[in-house]
C-alpha cells in the first residue's frame, strides 16, 4: 500500500465512521462530538449512522466512489494509466454526488417540487460538517493524483493538489456567493429573470450620463468613480514609488521615520483617517478655522466631495503601493544598472531605460491595487463623500439604504466589476510577457546606481511633505482620544481609555469590565487565525500563477481578484444569503468571519508574491528540482527565503485588513462574535468620537506591535550584494 492509498483510506474511514457529517453547534475543536452519545444523536452522527439509523438513504452514494477508488488501488492496480482514469472518474462522480444531493435537499426538505415523490415528506438535512469536508478533501486528492498521473502540470502532484484545492475553495467561497447575488440584477419580482430587466437597470442615466461635460448637472456615477479611481491609483503609485526610492536608494537620514509614516495609514481603521481629516480640514476643523480667522475667507466644505475623497484615499492606499514597490525596487539588480553605466549611460538614462522598465510589474501591480482599492472603498466614501457619487457608496445605499433594492445593487456591482476587469486586463497587456528576472543564482556583484538628481529630489519632495502631513493627521487622532469632547470641551482626560479598557478586581479576580474588551479580543483572535491561512493560500496561488503552466491560467488569476474587487457590502450580503442554510450553514459563527477575511484579502498576498517571484530566476528552482527536491521542498528551501518581503507584506496586510474591514463584516458579526470595527462604527454613529478614537488608537498600537514582531520573526531576505559586504 503506497502513501497515497493509505491517506485516502484513512480519510475515507474517518469521514464515514467518526466525524460528524453535519455541522454541529458549538466549537468543533472541543471534540465533544467524540462521545458515544453524540454518535447516536441525529445532528452529530457520522455518515454511516446517518443512513443506517436515521434513514438518510440519499447519503449512501456519496461514499461509494471512494470505496471503489480505494479498492482499485488496493486490489486491481495494474498500470498507471487505468489507475489515473479510475481515480479521475470516481472522484468527479463523488464530488458531483455530494454537491447535487446537498442542493436537492435542505433544511426545509426537498428544494424542488418534482422531488416530493422521491423523498419522504419529513426528510431534511442540516448544513455540511467536518465529515463532509474530509470526504470532499479525499475526492479532491484523488482527482489531483489522477490528473497528475496523466501528466498534467508535468506530473507534479503537489502543484496539482494545491491548484485543485484552491480552485475548489475559490469556487465555493467566492464564485458561488457572488454569483448568487449578481444574478439578482436580472431578477424582478413582477417579470422574473429577464435580460431587459438588467439592461433597464444597467443603462440608467444615473450610471452613465455624461451631462457634466455639457451643463452644470452631475455626471453618471460610473464616470465619477472611474475618474477618482484613476487619480487615486496614479497618486498612490507615484508616492509609493517615491517612498520606496527614498528608503532604498538614498542616504536619507530619517529612513526609519519615513517607513513608519508610510505604513501608519494602513494600520488605521479607514473612517479614522476620514474623521481626522475632518478635525483638521472640515468646516470647523483646526486649519479651516485658522485660515478663516486670519484671512477672513470662508473656505466652505471643500473637503466633502472629490478633493476630500482623493486626499483620504491617497493617504490610505499609498502604503499598499509602497509595500508592493519596496520589494520590487530592492530586487532590481544593481549589476544591470552597472552594466548600463559602464556602457556609457548617465544616471538619468540608466534610470529611465533600465531601472524603471525593470520595475514595470511592480508599478503595474501597485497601480492596479490602488485602482481597485479606490473603487471598492466604502469607509471614506461614507465619511467624506458628500455629494460626490461613487459606486461603492451607491451599492451600500441600495443594499442597506432607505430603499432596499438588491437588483439595483447587483447591477451597480456589475458596473464596478466591469471597470475592475478592464483594469486587470490592461495591466496584463502592459506588463506583457517580457522577462523581469533580476535575482538569479549567480549572486550579484553590483552596487545600486545613484539616482538621477531630478528623480531623487522629486522623491524627497513627494515623500517628506507627505510624511509630515501624515504625522499631523496622527497627532490629531492621538489627541482626539484624550480630549473630553472635541471642539466643545477641550480639557484633557483619560476617561475614554478607561471606559473602553477598564479592568477591575471583583471577588479577588481580575475582570475586564471595559466596553471594548469583548470585541477587541475576538477581533485579535480571528485576525490571528486568518493571517497564516491568507498568506499560505495567497503565496501558493502566486507560486502556481508565476511558476507553473496550466490551461485557463488567466481566468484563474482573475478569479482570485474577484472577491477583492467587489465592494465589501456585496460580499457581506452574499455570504449571508449563501451560507445561511444547508448545504453550507455558517452564519453566526466565527468561521464565516475567518473565511470572509481569507478570501477577501488573499489577492494582496497573491499580488505581492507574484511581483516578487517574477524577479526570481526560475533557474533557481529548476536547479533545486534537478538536485532532487520536488514540489514542496523547493518552495520551502529556495523560494520562501527569497520572497520573504512578500511573505511579511501579506501576513501584515492580512492581519491588518482583518482588523480594519467594516463593510464586509457588518452583516456577519453576531452577538458572540462581534468585531472591533463594527463596534467602533456604532460608537461613531452615536457621535462618541472620544471613545471610538481611543479604541482605534489601541488597535493602531496593537497592529504596529504585530508589524514589528512579524518583521523581527521573518526577517529580511539575504540577496548577496557587494555593497552590503563592503559596509
Amino acid at each position: 500500500m503506497n502513501r497515497f492509498t493509505r491517506k485516502l483510506l484513512i480519510l475515507g474511514i474517518i469521514s464515514l465512521l467518526i466525524l460528524p457529517w453535519f455541522r454541529i453547534d458549538g466549537s468543533f475543536w472541543s471534540f465533544h462530538w467524540l462521545s458515544f452519545d453524540f454518535f447516536q444523536d441525529e445532528e452529530t452522527a457520522p455518515l454511516l449512522l446517518q443512513f443506517l439509523s436515521f434513514e438518510r438513504w440519499w447519503l449512501l452514494p456519496v461514499i461509494l466512489p471512494l470505496c471503489f477508488a480505494v479498492a482499485q488501488l488496493l486490489f486491481w492496480h495494474k498500470n498507471a494509466k487505468t489507475t489515473a482514469t479510475v481515480q479521475i472518474v470516481s472522484s468527479l462522480l463523488g464530488l458531483a454526488i455530494i454537491i447535487v444531493q446537498s442542493f436537492l435537499l435542505g433544511d426545509f426538505g426537498v428544494n424542488y417540487t418534482f422531488l416530493e415523490s422521491v423523498f419522504s415528506e419529513d426528510s431534511f438535512q442540516y448544513g455540511l460538517g467536518m465529515g463532509a469536508v474530509a470526504l470532499l478533501y479525499a475526492y479532491l486528492l484523488s482527482f489531483s493524483y489522477g490528473i497528475a498521473l496523466k501528466g498534467f502540470m508535468k506530473g507534479d502532484v503537489f502543484a496539482v493538489t494545491c491548484l485543485t484545492i484552491i480552485i475548489f475553495l475559490v469556487l465555493v467561497f467566492v464564485f458561488f456567493p457572488v454569483f448568487n447575488i449578481l444574478i439578482r440584477a436580472f431578477w424582478d419580482t413582477d417579470v422574473g429573470y429577464s435580460l431587459s430587466v438588467f439592461f433597464n437597470r444597467f443603462g440608467s442615466p444615473n450610471i452613465w450620463s455624461v451631462n457634466c461635460f455639457s451643463d452644470t448637472a452631475v455626471c453618471g456615477v460610473a464616470w465619477s468613480t472611474a475618474f477618482l479611481a484613476l487619480m487615486t491609483a496614479l497618486s498612490t503609485t507615484l508616492l509609493g514609488l517615491a517612498f520606496a526610492l527614498v528608503v532604498t536608494r538614498t542616504n536619507f537620514r530619517f529612513k526609519g521615520t519615513l517607513r513608519v509614516f508610510s505604513v501608519l495609514p494602513i494600520i488605521t481603521p479607514p473612517f479614522v483617517v476620514g474623521m481626522a481629516l475632518l478635525l483638521l480640514l472640515g468646516n470647523s476643523g483646526v486649519v479651516t478655522q485658522a485660515i478663516n480667522n486670519t484671512f477672513d475667507v470662508d473656505l466652505g466644505g471643500w473637503i466633502y466631495g472629490f478633493w476630500g475623497l482623493w486626499l483620504a484615499q491617497t493617504l490610505s492606499y499609498t502604503p499598499i503601493a509602497f509595500l508592493v514597490l519596496i520589494g520590487v525596487v530592492e530586487g532590481v539588480s544593481p549589476s544591470m544598472e552597472e552594466a548600463s553605466q559602464t556602457l556609457g549611460a548617465n544616471s538619468w538614462k540608466t534610470f529611465t531605460t533600465v531601472t524603471l522598465p525593470l520595475m514595470r510589474p511592480g508599478l503595474a501591480n501597485a497601480f492596479l491595487l490602488g485602482f481597485v482599492e479606490s473603487m471598492a472603498d466604502l469607509g471614506n466614501a461614507l465619511v467624506l463623500g458628500g455629494d460626490y457619487q461613487v459606486l461603492s457608496a451607491q451599492i451600500f445605499y441600495s443594499v442597506a439604504g432607505a430603499s432596499a433594492d438588491e437588483g439595483k445593487a447587483a447591477s451597480l456591482a456589475i458596473t464596478l466589476l466591469i471597470f475592475t476587469l478592464s483594469a486587470f486586463f490592461i495591466q496584463k497587456v502592459w506588463v506583457g510577457n517580457k522577462s523581469y528576472t533580476t535575482v538569479t543564482g549567480k549572486g550579484d556583484g553590483g552596487v545600486y546606481a545613484k539616482l538621477p538628481r531630478a528623480v531623487s529630489s522629486l522623491s524627497y519632495m513627494g515623500a517628506i511633505p507627505w510624511s509630515v502631513f501624515t504625522g499631523i493627521i496622527y497627532l490629531m487622532v492621538l489627541l482626539g482620544g484624550f480630549v473630553t469632547l472635541w471642539g466643545v470641551d477641550n480639557s484633557l482626560t483619560l476617561m475614554h481609555y478607561i471606559d473602553a479598557f477598564r479592568i477591575e478586581f471583583i471577588n479577588d479576580r481580575l475582570v475586564t469590565t471595559g466596553v471594548a474588551w469583548d470585541s477587541f479580543l475576538i477581533t485579535i483572535g480571528l485576525a490571528l487565525i486568518a493571517m497564516p491561512l491568507t498568506s499560505c493560500i495567497g503565496l501558493l496561488t502566486g507560486y502556481l500563477l508565476s511558476r507553473v503552466d496550466f490551461p485557463g491560467k488567466t481566468y484563474f488569476e482573475f478569479s482570485t481578484m474577484l472577491s477583492f474587487a467587489i465592494p465589501g457590502i456585496v460580499i457581506g450580503v452574499s455570504y449571508v444569503v449563501a451560507f445561511n442554510q444547508a448545504p453550507i450553514d455558517l452564519t453566526f459563527t466565527g468561521l464565516i468571519l475567518i473565511l470572509c477575511f481569507v478570501f477577501r484579502n488573499m489577492s494582496v498576498s497573491v499580488r505581492a508574491s507574484m511581483a516578487s517571484l517574477s524577479q526570481l530566476d526560475p533557474g533557481l528552482d529548476e536547479a533545486s528540482v534537478t538536485l532532487g527536491s520536488r514540489g514542496f521542498k523547493t518552495i520551502r528551501k529556495i523560494i520562501l527565503p527569497l520572497i520573504k518581503p512578500a511573505i511579511t507584506a501579506s501576513m501584515i496586510y492580512s492581519f491588518i485588513r482583518s482588523i480594519t474591514s467594516i463593510s464586509a463584516v457588518i452583516f456577519l458579526v453576531s452577538a458572540d462574535y462581534n468585531l472591533a470595527s463594527a463596534h467602533i462604527i456604532g460608537l461613531v454613529e452615536q457621535n462618541q468620537f472620544g471613545i471610538s478614537i481611543a479604541y482605534s488608537t489601541v488597535l493602531i498600537v496593537v497592529m504596529a506591535a504585530a508589524l514589528l514582531v512579524m518583521k523581527f520573526l521573518i526577517g529580511d531576505r539575504k540577496i548577496f550584494l557587494r555593497s552590503k559586504k563592503l559596509q
Binding site: 435542505g106 445605499y397 445561511n580 452583516f667 462581534n674 454613529e685 457621535n687
Partner: protein
C-alpha cells in the same frame, strides 16, 4: 388611488397625562431559560442597558442565571437587509410548503414550523423599514399590548401590521436652527416647511440623503402630504429646498448636530435629537413646522421561527413596561414613550403644540417608497444648486 388606512391623531395624544405608576409583577418573566438573540437598532448604549435590565429582571424573577439575552446592534435598514438575507429561503420554503392551507390560524402554525431564524426579536430604530418589510413576511403576529395603557399611535402600528409589530416610542420630525449663526447672518426665523424655500437660506440647510436615511424618507413623505396641493406642491417645495441645501449627509441626525455646532445654520431632523442637543448647551432652537409634520415609531417585531419564542414574547412585553421605557431617557434618548404610565422625559413639553399629520400607510409601501426615492435621485438630486 387606494383607500387609505388612516389613523387620525390629534394634539391631545401628546398631552402629558399624570402617571399612575403601578409596578406590574411581570409574571411573563418566569420560567425563561436558554438564550435569546436580538437585533437592536437603537444606539449602542441604550441597547446594552435594555438587554442588561432584561437579564437582571429574568434572573430575579426565576432566582437563577439559566437565561441570557444577547443583542447585535445595526442601523434599522442594515438590520432589515440582514434579516432579509437570513430569512428569504425560509419565506420561499413556507410559500411552497404552506401553499394549500387557507385557514389563517393553520397557516400561521405552518409558517411558524417552517421558518428557521437564528435571531428571536428585532426592536427599536425607525418604523419605515419595518413596515416596508411586512410584505416579505418576516415578522410573526403577537398579542402586543393595545389597551388603555398604550398610546393610540403604538396601538395603531400593531393594528396596521395585523399584530406583527409593536411600538415602543415616538419621535417627531422637525428642524433646528443655530440661534447665534442666524442672528449673525441676519436671517429671518423660519417657522414652516415653506420658509425653507426662501432664497435667503441658500447654502444654509443640511438634511440627509434620501437614499441613505430613514429620517430623510420621513421628510419626503411629510412633503408629499403636508400641502394642500398634494404631491405636486410637495415636489415643487422639495425642488425649491434643494436649491438651499449646503450638503446631503449620510445619517439622519447629522443635520441637527451640524446646526448645533455652527457648521450649518439649519438642520432637518427629529425633535428629540434637537431637544437633547439644546439641553447639552448648544445654541439650537427647535422648529415644529406650521404645516404639520410626521412622526416615527420605534417598533418591536418578533421574527418568525424564533428559536426562543417564549423569551422573545416576554421581552416584547418587557419593552412596554414603564420601568423599561425610563431607561431610554436615562441613556439620553428623549423620545416619547408608548406606555401612558411612563413619565415622558423632561423637555418634551414643547411637543404639546405640534400639528401631526395622519399616518398614511400608502407611503410605507415598498414600491411607492422606491419610486419616490428614485424620482428624487434622478430628477431632483442632479439639479444644480
Amino acid at each position: 388611488m387606494k383607500i387609505l388606512n388612516k389613523i387620525m391623531l390629534t394634539v391631545s395624544i401628546l398631552g402629558i397625562t399624570v402617571p399612575s405608576y403601578a409596578a406590574s409583577d411581570m409574571d411573563y418573566l418566569k420560567g425563561l431559560s436558554g438564550e435569546m438573540v436580538s437585533y437592536c437598532s437603537n444606539e449602542p448604549g441604550p441597547c446594552a442597558a435594555l438587554i442588561k435590565a432584561f437579564n437582571a429582571a429574568v434572573a430575579e424573577a426565576n432566582g437563577n442565571n439559566d437565561f441570557k439575552a444577547k443583542f447585535i446592534r445595526l442601523s434599522t435598514s442594515e438590520m432589515i437587509s440582514r434579516v432579509k438575507g437570513e430569512l428569504e429561503k425560509s419565506a420561499a420554503a413556507a410559500k411552497r410548503k404552506c401553499k394549500n392551507i387557507t385557514d389563517a390560524a393553520e397557516l400561521e402554525v405552518c409558517k411558524e414550523k417552517v421558518y428557521k431564524s437564528k435571531v428571536d426579536i428585532a426592536f427599536h430604530g425607525t418604523d419605515d423599514p419595518y413596515r416596508a418589510a411586512l410584505g416579505d413576511d418576516f415578522f410573526s403576529p403577537f398579542d402586543y399590548p393595545t389597551g388603555a395603557d398604550v398610546q393610540p399611535w403604538a396601538a395603531g402600528i400593531t393594528k396596521d401590521s395585523d399584530g406583527r409589530l409593536g411600538g415602543a416610542y415616538l419621535g417627531v420630525l422637525g428642524f433646528g436652527y443655530n440661534t447665534e449663526l442666524l442672528a449673525k447672518k441676519g436671517l429671518s426665523v423660519p417657522a414652516c416647511w415653506k420658509d425653507l424655500t426662501k432664497p435667503e437660506y441658500k447654502g444654509q440647510i443640511v438634511m440627509a440623503n434620501w437614499n441613505t436615511s430613514g429620517t430623510a424618507y420621513k421628510f419626503a413623505s411629510t412633503m408629499m402630504q403636508a400641502f394642500p396641493g398634494g404631491e405636486k406642491e410637495g415636489w415643487d417645495t422639495v425642488r425649491a429646498i434643494h436649491k438651499n441645501i449646503a450638503q446631503y449627509s449620510k445619517s439622519g441626525s447629522k443635520g441637527g448636530k451640524m446646526a448645533a455646532r455652527g457648521e450649518t445654520t439649519i438642520g432637518i431632523g427629529f425633535a428629540h435629537d434637537i431637544i437633547s442637543l439644546k439641553q447639552k448647551g448648544f445654541p439650537i432652537q427647535l422648529v415644529l413646522p406650521c404645516e404639520g409634520t410626521l412622526f416615527e415609531i420605534g417598533p418591536i417585531g418578533i421574527l418568525r421561527g424564533a428559536k426562543n419564542r417564549k423569551a422573545a414574547e416576554a421581552f416584547a412585553l418587557f419593552l412596554y413596561e414603564p420601568s423599561t421605557q425610563n431607561i431610554l431617557a436615562q441613556e439620553g434618548i428623549l423620545s416619547f414613550p408608548s406606555n401612558v404610565n411612563t413619565v415622558p422625559p423632561e423637555g418634551l413639553d414643547v411637543l404639546k403644540g405640534v400639528k401631526l399629520l395622519p399616518v398614511n400607510s400608502y407611503y410605507s409601501e415598498k414600491k411607492v417608497k422606491g419610486d419616490i426615492i428614485s424620482k428624487w435621485t434622478n430628477e431632483v438630486f442632479p439639479l444644480p444648486r
